[in-house]
Amino acid sequence: MSRMKDILSPREELKNFSIFLTKNQWFNSICVPHDLLKILNNNAKAGDICEYNLVKFPFKNINLDRHVRPDWVSRLAREEEGESRVLLEVACECNCISDEDKISDPIIMLATKIIIQFDYFHNSNVEDVKTLQCSWHLDKHDPSRGTSTSHPLYHYEYGGTEISKAQGFNYGDFILMDSPRIMHPPLDLVLAFDFVIKNFYAYNKHKSLTDDPSYKRYVKNAQYRLWRPYAISFASHFHDFEQTYTIDRAFANNILHCSQ
């Protein structure tokens, strides 16, 4: 089952993935892959650490139909009424795994942000362009910052920002609440892209990309690098892996919740 030798370093994988994406026609219609290539500029000075920061990367022409949203917004979210997009931000610093039997957290820092934006003409007036927005973060908890409530190391939270304060906004159909943090396996750039594509585009649109064996391999590799340590550490609470792996206990404990 050992697969480490098939997987390149995170930086290599990322580079190949980006180049692969630039060649896919459907992907070019929803994103500007050129901007992906820019973040790869990495002068390889920091050894094995792969570090990148993708800022405000847009996914265009998203399909909002599947999603639940306030009744009056549904009128807007129809294609004819406005333009919608997803903005993705991924800031990541991660290590290269050398020994796959030593299970530890390959990620040093991770902050993934998914923002959904919807532009529309308020009151059908072309001079009055407004944007509705909401966002989700998937972060790795930063221990140096401490915590008020205990939460998992990798967590997912919802932030509703900048809801349009349009007149007559109906709060009645929309629940804004103080967000809890939900456990979720980490998403780096590859996995975040996969997440966005699969959640915001219809299958028959994205299958030309996602059914491609190369694409599937990149995703699988990313999952192997990031989710395997996560899964094994998590499972170690319920199963004894002493014989097979050396597990970083701090990591395993923090997955459930960080106490500090």
């Binding site: 219609s29 892959p33 050129h34 820019k38 800022v55 004819e80 333009e83 007036n125």
Partner: protein, 383 residues
């Protein structure tokens, strides 16, 4: 004091006209002197050009070399012009590559802004690589004479410097070894490669086309203002104050070809901003950016306004059509997308595309057409 740089201008008009055309530039410039001459026949000029270049640092050619008037020729020994500007330029470049003659800037200009010339200008013909600059005569000698004078000076100087010493990347870009590490390695690599294997002209051409005149590692004043969220016109003297601050902090580019073209380092601008505020510049709106700057420096900057139909004021680039600040998420990609990875994609706003007067000024890329048509339909529906 004699001027340091001399250009030869070949034009098929009579002497009085030729000299008159360049008189303004010669008057205002302290560094550049343009001398004019009749092109002659191919037989005559192709030979004499080698000795010409002993005294000249650059050549300017008129694109239409077809005048047969007697007055222009002046004397009987002078033969009719029978060659094109492209062929002379080609001749020079080939010989420069062979090191028979030195490489110099070659500028081509035309009085007429008709279609074929603007195609040349827009690099759609194969002779594009031969020339360093392609200009409208009126712009070159009259309308933008101050700019063109600086550019002529800069080009000639740079050609000279590149041919007189070995190529030193740090000197050319005016950066330290540490800073070099922050630039895109592909750019550095390509640059060094061209510097070692290709001609001076290829190198200057590369610098102009892939570095100086495009948004990427370097950005011009308009883009700097857009990224800081500033409306240049309305901010008046406050904008000058900001520019001065940027220059003081060495955000501006001072390497080769910075005299003719004014640019700033894109990454240094971001670093400069980080020292002022910990808000991420890219995801902060123009009004907030300007507020922070005004609070910090006591200026009275005015934030830039969104182009019509645009939703975001997180400006990062400028609209190719209106030249006003634009957030790429509101823009539509133009041109092809096989440009070099360290360059930015160019965008145009929906408003500019709809109001477009010159159908050939730019083209929205095919892959964005559908998105634009949908957006256009929404606008037309609600108008």
């Amino acid at each position: 004091m004699p001027k340091t740089i001399t250009y030869l201008f070949l034009d098929d008009n009579d002497k009085a006209t030729r000299d008159g055309d360049v008189q303004l530039l010669n008057t205002i410039s302290t560094d550049v002197e343009i001398k004019t001459d009749y092109p002659l026949s191919w037989k005559q000029r192709s030979k004499s050009i080698f000795t010409d270049l002993d005294q000249y640092d650059g050549i300017i050619l008129d694109w239409e070399l077809t005048n047969q008037s007697e007055a222009a020729k002046g004397s009987d020994e002078v033969e009719d012009v029978d060659f094109s500007a492209e062929s002379l330029a080609e001749h020079l470049r080939v010989n420069a590559a062979k090191k028979i003659v030195k490489d110099v800037p070659i500028i081509i200009c035309s009085a007429d802004n008709n279609r074929t010339f603007s195609n040349l200008k827009n690099r759609e013909l194969t002779s594009r690589d031969l020339f360093d600059l392609t200009c409208i005569k009126n712009d070159l000698f009259v309308k933008h004479v101050k700019n063109s004078e600086r550019q002529l000076f800069d080009l000639a100087t740079v050609y000279k410097q590149l041919q007189s010493k070995t190529f030193d990347l740090k000197e050319v870009l005016d950066i330290s070894a540490d800073e070099l590490g922050l630039l895109d390695i592909r750019f550095i690599d390509t640059l060094e490669n061209i510097a070692t294997t290709n001609t001076t002209h290829d190198l200057v051409y590369f610098l102009l086309q892939e570095f100086i005149q495009k948004e990427g590692l370097l950005i011009n004043e308009a883009v700097v203002a857009a990224r800081l969220g500033i409306d240049i016109e309305k901010s008046g003297t406050s904008w000058n104050e900001i520019k001065k601050l940027l220059i003081d902090e060495k955000v501006d580019y001072k390497g080769f070809l910075s005299i003719g073209w004014s640019n700033y380092w894109a990454y240094k601008l971001i670093d400069w901003w980080k020292n002022i505020s910990n808000q991420d510049l890219r995801t902060t709106g123009a009004s907030v950016r300007v507020q922070i700057l005004n609070d910090k420096f006591g200026t009275t900057l005015v934030p830039a306004e969104r182009i019509r139909f645009c939703s975001s004021e997180e400006f990062w680039t400028i609209c190719k059509g209106t030249k006003r600040p634009l957030d790429p998420i509101n823009g539509f990609m133009i041109g092809d997308y096989t440009s070099n990875p360290w360059l930015e994609v160019e965008y145009v706003s929906a408003y500019a595309e709809l109001e477009k007067e010159d159908a050939n000024a730019w083209r929205i890329s095919a892959i964005e057409r559908e998105r634009f048509d949908k957006f256009k339909a929404k606008i037309l529906k609600n108008e």
